[in-house]
Symmetry: C2
Subunit: 72 residues, 2 copies
DNA sequence: CTAACTATAATTAGTGT
DNA sequence: CACACTAATTATAGTTA
């Protein structure tokens, strides 16, 4: 079960790419939550992907809008 | 040199909090880059913190604005 | 398709310079 | 302050169910 080191280029196989996305987007949103909680900061994130109809957002729709509106 | 397990609550000590932020925001942006590169997706992220004058953004100013504009 | 498992890679808290 | 080190934790690729 050795795990290959990850090469940072597009995962060509569509199934592998989707599986990787489904794992990694959770890890990514978790990191956002941790950074927000541990430190005294404000994050907004939007993820568009072909793998879900709605974009994934952090921390939530309203707060994300507000954070982005501050950005010029 | 044992390392404590991280407790997910605000880091009270301001120096520790800043150091943690400076490490973690890099890790976070790296995860965003990886997710974008490995999978076929679009991310926009903004981080506001007391630790830098300008917000940190991914992938860049223009693309972040464009991604946000798609979000309603 | 989803979810659990687990060995290994990647991140990072604590420390030192 | 910034950067380097490294032990320990955390994330995840590959696999199995």
């Amino acid at each position: 079960m050795p795990r290959n080191k990850v090469i940072f280029y597009l995962i060509e196989n569509e199934t592998h790419r989707k599986v990787s996305y489904k794992k990694r987007h959770i890890g990514f949103l978790k990191k956002a939550q941790e950074l927000t909680t541990l430190c005294d900061i404000e994050i907004a994130t939007i993820i568009y992907s072909p793998y879900s109809d709605e974009p994934k957002v952090f921390p939530n729709h309203g707060a994300t809008i507000n954070t982005f509106l501050k950005f010029k």
